[in-house]
Amino acid sequence: MVMVGKTTERIVATVLMYLAVVVVMAATLFPLVWMFITSFKKETDVLTFPPTFVFEPTFDNFIYAFTKSKPPLSLALTNSLIIGACTVALVVPISALAAYSFARFNVGGGHLQFYILTVKMFPAIAAIIPYFIIFRELGLLDHVLSLIILNTLFNLPFAIWLLFGFFREIPQDLEESAMIEGCSKFGAFRDIVLPLIAPGLAVTAIFSTIFTWNEFLFAFILSRARAVTAPVAVAGFWTQRGILWGPLSAAATICIVPMFIFALLIQRYIVRGLTFGAVK
Protein backbone atom coordinates (compact mmCIF):
# COMPACT_ATOMS: atom_id res chain seq x y z
CA MET A 1 0.00 0.00 0.00
CA VAL A 2 1.35 3.35 -0.87
CA MET A 3 1.66 5.64 2.13
CA VAL A 4 0.80 9.16 1.24
CA GLY A 5 2.93 10.45 4.09
CA LYS A 6 2.23 14.09 3.62
CA THR A 7 -1.52 13.72 3.92
CA THR A 8 -1.44 11.72 7.12
CA GLU A 9 1.05 14.18 8.49
CA ARG A 10 -1.34 16.95 7.68
CA ILE A 11 -4.30 15.21 9.26
CA VAL A 12 -2.39 14.52 12.42
CA ALA A 13 -1.20 18.09 12.54
CA THR A 14 -4.72 19.39 12.10
CA VAL A 15 -6.09 17.14 14.80
CA LEU A 16 -3.35 18.16 17.20
CA MET A 17 -4.02 21.76 16.43
CA TYR A 18 -7.71 21.58 17.16
CA LEU A 19 -6.90 19.60 20.25
CA ALA A 20 -4.62 22.37 21.39
CA VAL A 21 -7.36 24.89 20.79
CA VAL A 22 -9.72 22.83 22.89
CA VAL A 23 -7.15 22.66 25.67
CA VAL A 24 -6.70 26.42 25.61
CA MET A 25 -10.45 26.98 25.70
CA ALA A 26 -10.83 24.55 28.54
CA ALA A 27 -8.07 26.17 30.56
CA THR A 28 -9.68 29.53 30.01
CA LEU A 29 -13.12 28.39 30.99
CA PHE A 30 -12.27 26.09 33.87
CA PRO A 31 -12.03 28.57 36.73
CA LEU A 32 -15.23 30.26 35.62
CA VAL A 33 -17.08 27.01 35.32
CA TRP A 34 -15.76 25.94 38.70
CA MET A 35 -17.02 29.13 40.25
CA PHE A 36 -20.37 28.63 38.61
CA ILE A 37 -20.88 25.10 39.85
CA THR A 38 -19.56 25.87 43.31
CA SER A 39 -22.35 28.34 43.75
CA PHE A 40 -24.82 25.52 43.45
CA LYS A 41 -23.13 23.23 45.94
CA LYS A 42 -24.24 22.57 49.44
CA GLU A 43 -21.78 23.58 52.11
CA THR A 44 -20.80 20.03 52.72
CA ASP A 45 -19.94 19.65 49.07
CA VAL A 46 -17.93 22.83 49.10
CA LEU A 47 -15.80 22.15 52.12
CA THR A 48 -14.72 18.65 51.28
CA PHE A 49 -11.71 16.95 50.00
CA PRO A 50 -11.57 15.54 47.41
CA PRO A 51 -13.66 18.21 45.70
CA THR A 52 -16.94 17.02 44.33
CA PHE A 53 -17.70 17.08 40.67
CA VAL A 54 -21.02 15.39 40.91
CA PHE A 55 -23.43 16.73 43.45
CA GLU A 56 -26.96 17.71 44.18
CA PRO A 57 -27.50 21.32 43.22
CA THR A 58 -29.12 23.75 45.59
CA PHE A 59 -30.00 27.40 45.68
CA ASP A 60 -29.01 27.78 49.33
CA ASN A 61 -25.98 29.83 48.53
CA PHE A 62 -27.91 32.31 46.50
CA ILE A 63 -30.53 32.67 49.17
CA TYR A 64 -27.86 33.17 51.80
CA ALA A 65 -26.04 35.68 49.62
CA PHE A 66 -29.12 37.78 49.22
CA THR A 67 -30.49 37.58 52.70
CA LYS A 68 -27.66 37.29 55.11
CA SER A 69 -24.80 39.12 53.53
CA LYS A 70 -23.33 42.22 54.98
CA PRO A 71 -23.26 44.49 53.09
CA PRO A 72 -26.46 43.31 51.44
CA LEU A 73 -25.96 41.98 47.96
CA SER A 74 -29.21 43.43 46.73
CA LEU A 75 -28.11 46.90 47.73
CA ALA A 76 -24.77 46.38 46.07
CA LEU A 77 -26.35 45.25 42.85
CA THR A 78 -28.73 48.17 42.85
CA ASN A 79 -25.91 50.58 43.43
CA SER A 80 -23.86 49.02 40.67
CA LEU A 81 -26.78 49.42 38.31
CA ILE A 82 -27.36 53.03 39.26
CA ILE A 83 -23.71 53.94 39.07
CA GLY A 84 -23.32 52.07 35.81
CA ALA A 85 -26.35 53.64 34.20
CA CYS A 86 -25.50 57.18 35.30
CA THR A 87 -21.90 56.84 34.28
CA VAL A 88 -22.76 55.56 30.84
CA ALA A 89 -25.44 58.21 30.42
CA LEU A 90 -22.80 60.83 31.10
CA VAL A 91 -19.85 59.26 29.37
CA VAL A 92 -21.38 58.46 26.01
CA PRO A 93 -22.71 61.87 25.00
CA ILE A 94 -19.82 63.81 26.50
CA SER A 95 -17.20 61.62 24.91
CA ALA A 96 -19.01 61.58 21.57
CA LEU A 97 -19.02 65.37 21.40
CA ALA A 98 -15.41 65.64 22.48
CA ALA A 99 -14.20 62.87 20.19
CA TYR A 100 -15.96 64.50 17.26
CA SER A 101 -14.39 67.84 17.95
CA PHE A 102 -10.99 66.19 18.10
CA ALA A 103 -11.50 64.07 15.01
CA ARG A 104 -12.93 66.72 12.74
CA PHE A 105 -11.66 70.01 14.04
CA ASN A 106 -8.51 68.99 15.81
CA VAL A 107 -9.38 71.03 18.85
CA GLY A 108 -6.31 71.65 20.94
CA GLY A 109 -4.05 70.26 18.25
CA GLY A 110 -3.68 66.83 19.76
CA HIS A 111 -2.29 68.05 23.07
CA LEU A 112 -5.62 68.03 24.83
CA GLN A 113 -6.30 64.54 23.64
CA PHE A 114 -2.94 63.50 24.92
CA TYR A 115 -3.58 64.91 28.35
CA ILE A 116 -6.94 63.21 28.53
CA LEU A 117 -5.45 59.88 27.62
CA THR A 118 -2.84 60.10 30.36
CA VAL A 119 -5.65 60.40 32.85
CA LYS A 120 -6.68 56.87 32.04
CA MET A 121 -3.20 55.71 32.88
CA PHE A 122 -3.22 56.98 36.46
CA PRO A 123 -2.83 54.12 38.89
CA ALA A 124 -6.06 54.07 40.84
CA ILE A 125 -4.51 53.68 44.25
CA ALA A 126 -2.26 56.64 43.68
CA ALA A 127 -5.01 58.80 42.28
CA ILE A 128 -7.47 58.08 45.00
CA ILE A 129 -5.70 59.67 47.93
CA PRO A 130 -6.59 63.27 47.14
CA TYR A 131 -10.11 62.27 46.12
CA PHE A 132 -10.56 60.52 49.42
CA ILE A 133 -9.51 63.56 51.36
CA ILE A 134 -11.60 65.92 49.26
CA PHE A 135 -14.74 63.80 49.26
CA ARG A 136 -14.38 63.36 52.97
CA GLU A 137 -14.35 67.11 53.42
CA LEU A 138 -17.42 67.39 51.22
CA GLY A 139 -19.23 64.68 53.13
CA LEU A 140 -19.50 62.60 49.98
CA LEU A 141 -17.86 59.55 51.40
CA ASP A 142 -20.01 56.47 51.09
CA HIS A 143 -22.19 58.24 48.58
CA VAL A 144 -23.09 56.92 45.17
CA LEU A 145 -22.48 60.32 43.62
CA SER A 146 -18.76 60.26 44.32
CA LEU A 147 -18.46 56.95 42.53
CA ILE A 148 -20.42 58.23 39.57
CA ILE A 149 -18.11 61.20 39.30
CA LEU A 150 -14.96 59.15 39.47
CA ASN A 151 -16.15 56.47 37.11
CA THR A 152 -17.22 59.08 34.60
CA LEU A 153 -13.85 60.74 34.84
CA PHE A 154 -11.90 57.57 34.32
CA ASN A 155 -14.06 56.21 31.53
CA LEU A 156 -14.03 59.39 29.48
CA PRO A 157 -10.49 59.05 28.10
CA PHE A 158 -11.11 55.55 26.89
CA ALA A 159 -14.47 56.42 25.39
CA ILE A 160 -13.07 59.47 23.65
CA TRP A 161 -10.28 57.52 22.07
CA LEU A 162 -12.52 54.72 20.98
CA LEU A 163 -15.03 57.06 19.37
CA PHE A 164 -12.24 59.14 17.89
CA GLY A 165 -11.25 56.09 15.88
CA PHE A 166 -14.81 55.53 14.77
CA PHE A 167 -15.30 59.11 13.69
CA ARG A 168 -12.15 59.10 11.65
CA GLU A 169 -13.45 56.20 9.62
CA ILE A 170 -16.36 58.20 8.30
CA PRO A 171 -15.48 60.21 5.20
CA GLN A 172 -15.99 63.91 5.65
CA ASP A 173 -17.98 64.45 2.47
CA LEU A 174 -21.23 63.59 4.13
CA GLU A 175 -20.95 66.26 6.76
CA GLU A 176 -19.66 68.81 4.29
CA SER A 177 -22.51 68.07 1.98
CA ALA A 178 -24.93 68.45 4.85
CA MET A 179 -23.40 71.76 5.81
CA ILE A 180 -23.70 73.09 2.29
CA GLU A 181 -27.28 71.98 2.27
CA GLY A 182 -28.15 73.89 5.37
CA CYS A 183 -26.85 72.16 8.50
CA SER A 184 -24.81 73.81 11.16
CA LYS A 185 -21.74 71.97 12.41
CA PHE A 186 -23.71 70.57 15.27
CA GLY A 187 -26.64 69.76 13.00
CA ALA A 188 -24.42 67.75 10.69
CA PHE A 189 -23.05 65.92 13.71
CA ARG A 190 -26.48 65.16 15.06
CA ASP A 191 -28.34 64.28 11.87
CA ILE A 192 -25.70 62.65 9.74
CA VAL A 193 -22.78 61.40 11.74
CA LEU A 194 -24.40 60.07 14.89
CA PRO A 195 -26.70 57.62 13.09
CA LEU A 196 -23.75 56.33 11.14
CA ILE A 197 -21.77 55.78 14.25
CA ALA A 198 -24.48 54.11 16.28
CA PRO A 199 -22.59 50.81 16.56
CA GLY A 200 -19.58 52.70 17.87
CA LEU A 201 -21.72 54.37 20.49
CA ALA A 202 -23.14 51.05 21.54
CA VAL A 203 -19.70 49.53 21.86
CA THR A 204 -18.49 52.46 23.90
CA ALA A 205 -21.49 52.20 26.17
CA ILE A 206 -20.91 48.52 26.74
CA PHE A 207 -17.23 48.90 27.46
CA SER A 208 -17.96 51.66 29.91
CA THR A 209 -20.56 49.48 31.56
CA ILE A 210 -18.09 46.65 31.96
CA PHE A 211 -15.37 48.84 33.38
CA THR A 212 -17.69 50.58 35.79
CA TRP A 213 -19.36 47.40 36.94
CA ASN A 214 -16.05 45.68 37.61
CA GLU A 215 -14.49 48.67 39.28
CA PHE A 216 -13.31 47.68 42.73
CA LEU A 217 -10.73 49.96 44.23
CA PHE A 218 -12.56 53.27 44.23
CA ALA A 219 -15.74 51.65 45.40
CA PHE A 220 -13.93 49.79 48.13
CA ILE A 221 -12.18 52.79 49.53
CA LEU A 222 -14.89 55.34 49.10
CA SER A 223 -17.80 53.31 50.38
CA ARG A 224 -18.71 52.00 53.78
CA ALA A 225 -22.18 50.65 53.93
CA ARG A 226 -24.47 52.62 51.69
CA ALA A 227 -22.60 52.96 48.43
CA VAL A 228 -21.19 49.51 48.05
CA THR A 229 -21.03 47.99 44.61
CA ALA A 230 -21.17 44.41 43.42
CA PRO A 231 -17.44 43.64 43.52
CA VAL A 232 -17.19 45.14 46.99
CA ALA A 233 -20.05 42.98 48.16
CA VAL A 234 -18.39 39.89 46.74
CA ALA A 235 -15.21 40.77 48.60
CA GLY A 236 -17.35 41.18 51.69
CA PHE A 237 -17.75 37.44 51.91
CA TRP A 238 -14.25 37.31 53.19
CA THR A 239 -15.23 38.00 56.73
CA GLN A 240 -13.41 37.94 60.01
CA ARG A 241 -14.65 34.46 60.57
CA GLY A 242 -13.30 33.17 57.33
CA ILE A 243 -14.41 32.93 53.78
CA LEU A 244 -17.88 31.69 53.06
CA TRP A 245 -17.06 29.97 49.84
CA GLY A 246 -20.51 28.90 48.80
CA PRO A 247 -22.31 32.22 49.06
CA LEU A 248 -19.20 33.90 47.75
CA SER A 249 -19.30 31.84 44.61
CA ALA A 250 -22.95 32.62 44.25
CA ALA A 251 -22.34 36.32 44.60
CA ALA A 252 -19.36 36.15 42.28
CA THR A 253 -21.45 34.35 39.70
CA ILE A 254 -24.11 37.02 39.86
CA CYS A 255 -21.42 39.64 39.56
CA ILE A 256 -19.69 38.11 36.61
CA VAL A 257 -22.32 36.47 34.46
CA PRO A 258 -24.00 39.66 33.22
CA MET A 259 -20.65 40.76 31.89
CA PHE A 260 -20.42 37.58 29.86
CA ILE A 261 -23.45 38.59 27.93
CA PHE A 262 -21.84 41.91 27.15
CA ALA A 263 -18.67 40.14 26.16
CA LEU A 264 -20.61 38.22 23.57
CA LEU A 265 -22.00 41.47 22.18
CA ILE A 266 -18.72 43.22 21.82
CA GLN A 267 -16.34 40.37 21.11
CA ARG A 268 -15.72 41.80 17.69
CA TYR A 269 -14.47 45.05 19.16
CA ILE A 270 -12.48 43.82 22.16
CA VAL A 271 -9.10 44.22 20.61
CA ARG A 272 -9.93 47.63 19.32
CA GLY A 273 -11.35 48.68 22.64
CA LEU A 274 -8.55 47.53 24.85
CA THR A 275 -5.83 49.01 22.72
CA PHE A 276 -7.63 52.33 22.80
CA GLY A 277 -8.62 52.00 19.21
CA ALA A 278 -5.09 51.73 17.98
CA VAL A 279 -5.48 48.19 16.68
CA LYS A 280 -8.53 47.23 14.73
Partner: protein, 289 residues
Protein backbone atom coordinates in the same frame (compact mmCIF):
# COMPACT_ATOMS: atom_id res chain seq x y z
CA UNK B 1 -23.84 85.98 17.82
CA UNK B 2 -25.10 83.32 15.51
CA UNK B 3 -21.91 83.29 13.53
CA UNK B 4 -19.86 83.17 16.69
CA UNK B 5 -21.63 80.10 17.89
CA UNK B 6 -20.87 78.29 14.66
CA UNK B 7 -17.24 79.24 14.67
CA UNK B 8 -16.64 78.14 18.22
CA UNK B 9 -18.81 75.08 17.99
CA UNK B 10 -15.87 72.64 18.06
CA UNK B 11 -14.74 74.07 21.37
CA UNK B 12 -18.27 74.08 22.67
CA UNK B 13 -18.54 70.41 21.81
CA UNK B 14 -15.36 69.52 23.58
CA UNK B 15 -16.08 71.65 26.61
CA UNK B 16 -18.03 69.22 28.82
CA UNK B 17 -15.29 66.64 28.52
CA UNK B 18 -12.56 69.18 29.03
CA UNK B 19 -14.36 70.71 31.98
CA UNK B 20 -14.77 67.39 33.72
CA UNK B 21 -11.27 66.17 33.04
CA UNK B 22 -9.47 69.33 33.94
CA UNK B 23 -11.48 70.22 37.01
CA UNK B 24 -11.29 66.72 38.37
CA UNK B 25 -7.64 66.10 37.70
CA UNK B 26 -5.82 69.36 38.10
CA UNK B 27 -7.17 70.32 41.47
CA UNK B 28 -6.61 66.92 43.06
CA UNK B 29 -3.15 66.83 41.55
CA UNK B 30 -2.16 70.09 43.16
CA UNK B 31 -3.86 69.12 46.34
CA UNK B 32 -1.98 65.89 46.35
CA UNK B 33 1.24 67.77 45.85
CA UNK B 34 0.33 69.99 48.74
CA UNK B 35 -0.48 67.11 51.07
CA UNK B 36 2.69 65.30 50.12
CA UNK B 37 4.74 68.09 51.63
CA UNK B 38 3.05 67.73 54.98
CA UNK B 39 3.19 65.20 57.74
CA UNK B 40 -0.50 64.57 57.49
CA UNK B 41 -2.00 61.58 59.26
CA UNK B 42 -5.72 61.12 59.38
CA UNK B 43 -5.66 59.52 62.79
CA UNK B 44 -3.22 62.02 64.24
CA UNK B 45 -4.39 65.35 62.88
CA UNK B 46 -2.39 67.29 65.44
CA UNK B 47 0.74 66.19 63.68
CA UNK B 48 -0.08 68.11 60.52
CA UNK B 49 2.78 70.42 59.56
CA UNK B 50 4.73 71.50 56.55
CA UNK B 51 7.81 69.35 56.06
CA UNK B 52 8.87 70.05 52.53
CA UNK B 53 10.37 67.13 50.72
CA UNK B 54 10.88 65.12 53.85
CA UNK B 55 8.30 62.53 52.78
CA UNK B 56 10.07 61.98 49.52
CA UNK B 57 13.42 61.72 51.16
CA UNK B 58 12.10 59.22 53.65
CA UNK B 59 10.62 57.02 50.95
CA UNK B 60 13.66 57.04 48.76
CA UNK B 61 16.39 56.91 51.37
CA UNK B 62 15.22 55.08 54.43
CA UNK B 63 12.11 53.12 53.61
CA UNK B 64 13.07 49.56 52.96
CA UNK B 65 9.49 48.50 52.64
CA UNK B 66 9.01 50.97 49.85
CA UNK B 67 11.93 49.63 47.92
CA UNK B 68 10.99 46.05 48.57
CA UNK B 69 7.49 46.69 47.31
CA UNK B 70 8.89 48.36 44.24
CA UNK B 71 11.13 45.38 43.68
CA UNK B 72 8.22 43.02 44.08
CA UNK B 73 6.20 45.05 41.62
CA UNK B 74 8.94 44.82 39.06
CA UNK B 75 9.46 41.13 39.66
CA UNK B 76 5.78 40.55 39.37
CA UNK B 77 5.51 42.54 36.16
CA UNK B 78 8.46 40.83 34.56
CA UNK B 79 7.23 37.44 35.66
CA UNK B 80 3.85 37.98 34.13
CA UNK B 81 5.15 39.48 30.93
CA UNK B 82 7.65 36.73 30.37
CA UNK B 83 4.83 34.24 30.46
CA UNK B 84 2.00 36.18 28.88
CA UNK B 85 3.87 37.33 25.80
CA UNK B 86 5.11 33.96 24.54
CA UNK B 87 1.94 32.16 25.57
CA UNK B 88 -0.19 34.82 24.00
CA UNK B 89 1.84 34.65 20.82
CA UNK B 90 1.56 30.90 20.78
CA UNK B 91 -2.18 30.96 21.23
CA UNK B 92 -2.46 33.64 18.57
CA UNK B 93 -0.58 31.45 16.13
CA UNK B 94 -2.72 28.52 17.00
CA UNK B 95 -5.90 30.43 16.44
CA UNK B 96 -4.64 31.97 13.26
CA UNK B 97 -4.54 28.55 11.68
CA UNK B 98 -7.76 27.22 13.08
CA UNK B 99 -10.36 29.23 11.29
CA UNK B 100 -13.59 27.67 12.42
CA UNK B 101 -15.67 29.09 15.21
CA UNK B 102 -13.78 32.31 15.46
CA UNK B 103 -16.65 34.12 17.10
CA UNK B 104 -16.99 31.50 19.78
CA UNK B 105 -13.28 31.49 20.41
CA UNK B 106 -13.10 35.24 20.70
CA UNK B 107 -15.98 35.33 23.11
CA UNK B 108 -14.48 32.66 25.31
CA UNK B 109 -11.13 34.39 25.32
CA UNK B 110 -12.79 37.62 26.27
CA UNK B 111 -14.41 36.15 29.36
CA UNK B 112 -11.50 36.29 31.80
CA UNK B 113 -11.00 39.94 30.96
CA UNK B 114 -14.57 41.06 31.55
CA UNK B 115 -14.89 39.25 34.85
CA UNK B 116 -14.30 41.47 37.85
CA UNK B 117 -10.79 40.61 39.07
CA UNK B 118 -11.87 40.61 42.67
CA UNK B 119 -14.65 38.15 42.08
CA UNK B 120 -12.62 35.77 39.97
CA UNK B 121 -9.66 36.24 42.23
CA UNK B 122 -11.60 34.98 45.18
CA UNK B 123 -12.65 31.95 43.18
CA UNK B 124 -9.00 31.26 42.51
CA UNK B 125 -8.33 31.58 46.18
CA UNK B 126 -10.78 28.80 46.67
CA UNK B 127 -9.10 26.76 43.97
CA UNK B 128 -5.76 27.36 45.62
CA UNK B 129 -7.08 26.24 49.01
CA UNK B 130 -4.75 23.75 50.58
CA UNK B 131 -7.52 21.48 51.66
CA UNK B 132 -10.57 22.08 49.52
CA UNK B 133 -8.95 23.57 46.48
CA UNK B 134 -9.40 21.75 43.22
CA UNK B 135 -5.84 22.44 42.08
CA UNK B 136 -4.40 20.41 44.89
CA UNK B 137 -6.72 17.62 43.97
CA UNK B 138 -5.28 17.37 40.50
CA UNK B 139 -1.74 17.86 41.64
CA UNK B 140 -2.05 15.08 44.17
CA UNK B 141 -3.47 12.85 41.49
CA UNK B 142 -0.20 13.27 39.67
CA UNK B 143 1.61 12.14 42.75
CA UNK B 144 3.27 15.43 43.57
CA UNK B 145 3.03 17.10 46.94
CA UNK B 146 1.26 20.35 46.31
CA UNK B 147 2.97 23.56 47.41
CA UNK B 148 1.32 26.01 49.70
CA UNK B 149 -0.02 28.06 46.83
CA UNK B 150 -0.82 31.10 48.83
CA UNK B 151 0.83 30.25 52.07
CA UNK B 152 4.34 29.51 50.98
CA UNK B 153 6.52 32.62 51.14
CA UNK B 154 8.20 31.86 47.88
CA UNK B 155 5.27 30.44 46.04
CA UNK B 156 2.70 33.08 46.82
CA UNK B 157 4.01 35.49 44.22
CA UNK B 158 4.04 32.75 41.64
CA UNK B 159 0.43 31.92 42.39
CA UNK B 160 -0.57 35.53 41.83
CA UNK B 161 1.39 35.56 38.62
CA UNK B 162 -0.38 32.43 37.44
CA UNK B 163 -3.71 34.10 38.09
CA UNK B 164 -2.74 37.14 36.07
CA UNK B 165 -1.46 34.98 33.28
CA UNK B 166 -4.78 33.20 33.15
CA UNK B 167 -6.70 36.45 33.08
CA UNK B 168 -4.65 38.42 30.60
CA UNK B 169 -2.95 36.05 28.23
CA UNK B 170 -6.17 35.94 26.24
CA UNK B 171 -5.84 39.70 25.77
CA UNK B 172 -2.33 39.35 24.42
CA UNK B 173 -3.49 36.49 22.24
CA UNK B 174 -6.45 38.43 20.84
CA UNK B 175 -4.42 41.50 20.01
CA UNK B 176 -1.63 39.52 18.39
CA UNK B 177 -4.19 37.45 16.56
CA UNK B 178 -5.62 40.62 15.09
CA UNK B 179 -2.12 41.58 14.07
CA UNK B 180 -1.40 38.22 12.49
CA UNK B 181 -4.64 38.30 10.60
CA UNK B 182 -3.77 41.59 9.04
CA UNK B 183 -0.60 40.21 7.50
CA UNK B 184 -0.79 39.45 3.81
CA UNK B 185 -0.13 35.87 2.77
CA UNK B 186 2.15 36.69 -0.14
CA UNK B 187 5.53 36.74 1.61
CA UNK B 188 4.65 33.39 3.11
CA UNK B 189 3.69 31.92 -0.21
CA UNK B 190 6.89 32.91 -1.90
CA UNK B 191 8.85 31.69 1.12
CA UNK B 192 7.19 28.33 0.80
CA UNK B 193 8.17 28.17 -2.82
CA UNK B 194 11.72 28.84 -1.79
CA UNK B 195 11.56 25.99 0.65
CA UNK B 196 11.65 27.87 3.91
CA UNK B 197 10.85 25.96 7.07
CA UNK B 198 8.16 26.97 9.55
CA UNK B 199 10.73 28.31 11.94
CA UNK B 200 12.41 30.36 9.23
CA UNK B 201 9.14 31.82 8.11
CA UNK B 202 8.33 32.71 11.67
CA UNK B 203 11.64 34.33 12.36
CA UNK B 204 12.11 36.27 9.17
CA UNK B 205 8.60 37.17 8.08
CA UNK B 206 6.26 37.07 11.03
CA UNK B 207 8.35 38.43 13.84
CA UNK B 208 9.49 41.62 12.17
CA UNK B 209 5.96 42.39 11.04
CA UNK B 210 4.37 42.17 14.42
CA UNK B 211 7.25 43.52 16.41
CA UNK B 212 5.74 46.94 16.91
CA UNK B 213 2.41 45.44 17.88
CA UNK B 214 4.13 43.22 20.42
CA UNK B 215 5.88 46.19 21.90
CA UNK B 216 2.59 48.02 22.32
CA UNK B 217 0.89 45.05 23.90
CA UNK B 218 3.84 44.55 26.23
CA UNK B 219 3.76 48.19 27.25
CA UNK B 220 0.00 48.17 27.82
CA UNK B 221 0.32 45.09 29.95
CA UNK B 222 3.23 46.55 31.83
CA UNK B 223 1.26 49.63 32.76
CA UNK B 224 -1.67 47.52 33.91
CA UNK B 225 0.60 45.21 35.86
CA UNK B 226 2.14 48.07 37.72
CA UNK B 227 -1.33 49.14 38.76
CA UNK B 228 -2.31 45.72 40.02
CA UNK B 229 -4.42 45.79 43.11
CA UNK B 230 -7.60 43.76 42.91
CA UNK B 231 -5.87 40.43 42.42
CA UNK B 232 -3.60 40.97 45.41
CA UNK B 233 -6.58 41.91 47.51
CA UNK B 234 -8.47 38.81 46.55
CA UNK B 235 -5.67 36.30 46.73
CA UNK B 236 -3.19 37.26 49.37
CA UNK B 237 -3.79 40.71 50.81
CA UNK B 238 -0.08 41.30 50.55
CA UNK B 239 0.75 38.13 52.39
CA UNK B 240 2.02 35.86 53.57
CA UNK B 241 3.86 38.48 55.53
CA UNK B 242 4.85 40.90 52.85
CA UNK B 243 5.68 38.31 50.23
CA UNK B 244 3.26 39.74 47.73
CA UNK B 245 3.25 43.30 48.87
CA UNK B 246 3.53 45.14 45.63
CA UNK B 247 3.76 48.90 45.47
CA UNK B 248 0.03 49.45 45.16
CA UNK B 249 -0.58 47.30 48.18
CA UNK B 250 2.07 49.08 50.19
CA UNK B 251 0.49 52.37 49.24
CA UNK B 252 -2.88 51.09 50.32
CA UNK B 253 -1.47 49.95 53.60
CA UNK B 254 0.21 53.16 54.59
CA UNK B 255 -2.56 55.32 53.21
CA UNK B 256 -5.70 53.55 54.30
CA UNK B 257 -4.58 51.32 57.13
CA UNK B 258 -2.03 53.47 58.85
CA UNK B 259 -3.64 56.62 57.47
CA UNK B 260 -0.30 58.31 56.83
CA UNK B 261 -1.85 60.25 54.04
CA UNK B 262 0.92 62.80 53.69
CA UNK B 263 3.59 60.19 53.24
CA UNK B 264 1.34 58.14 51.02
CA UNK B 265 0.70 61.13 48.78
CA UNK B 266 4.40 61.54 48.19
CA UNK B 267 4.82 57.94 47.17
CA UNK B 268 1.63 58.09 45.15
CA UNK B 269 2.87 61.05 43.16
CA UNK B 270 6.16 59.42 42.36
CA UNK B 271 4.37 56.29 41.33
CA UNK B 272 1.89 58.21 39.24
CA UNK B 273 4.61 59.92 37.28
CA UNK B 274 6.49 56.73 36.66
CA UNK B 275 3.36 55.29 35.13
CA UNK B 276 2.72 58.43 33.14
CA UNK B 277 6.17 58.35 31.62
CA UNK B 278 5.58 54.79 30.53
CA UNK B 279 2.18 55.76 29.21
CA UNK B 280 3.59 58.57 27.15
CA UNK B 281 5.99 56.17 25.53
CA UNK B 282 3.16 53.78 24.84
CA UNK B 283 0.91 56.42 23.37
CA UNK B 284 3.62 57.58 21.04
CA UNK B 285 4.19 54.06 19.86
CA UNK B 286 0.49 53.54 19.34
CA UNK B 287 0.23 56.73 17.37
CA UNK B 288 2.91 55.55 15.02
CA UNK B 289 1.10 52.34 14.29
Amino acid sequence: MKIDKEKYMPWIMASPALAIVFSLTLYPLFYSLYVSTRSFELTALWKDAFIGIENYRRALNSDLFFWSSLLKTILYALGCLSLEMPLGLGVAFLLNRAIKGRRVVRTILALPMVAAPVAVGLTWRYMYHHEFGVFNYFVRLLGITPPGWLTNLNFAMISVIIFDVWQWTPFVALVLLAGLQSLSPEPYESATIYGASMWQKFRYITLPSIRSLMTIVALLRLIDLLKLYDAVYALTRGGPGIATEVLTWYLYKIGFKFWWLGYASAIALMFQYLVIILSVITIEKMAKL
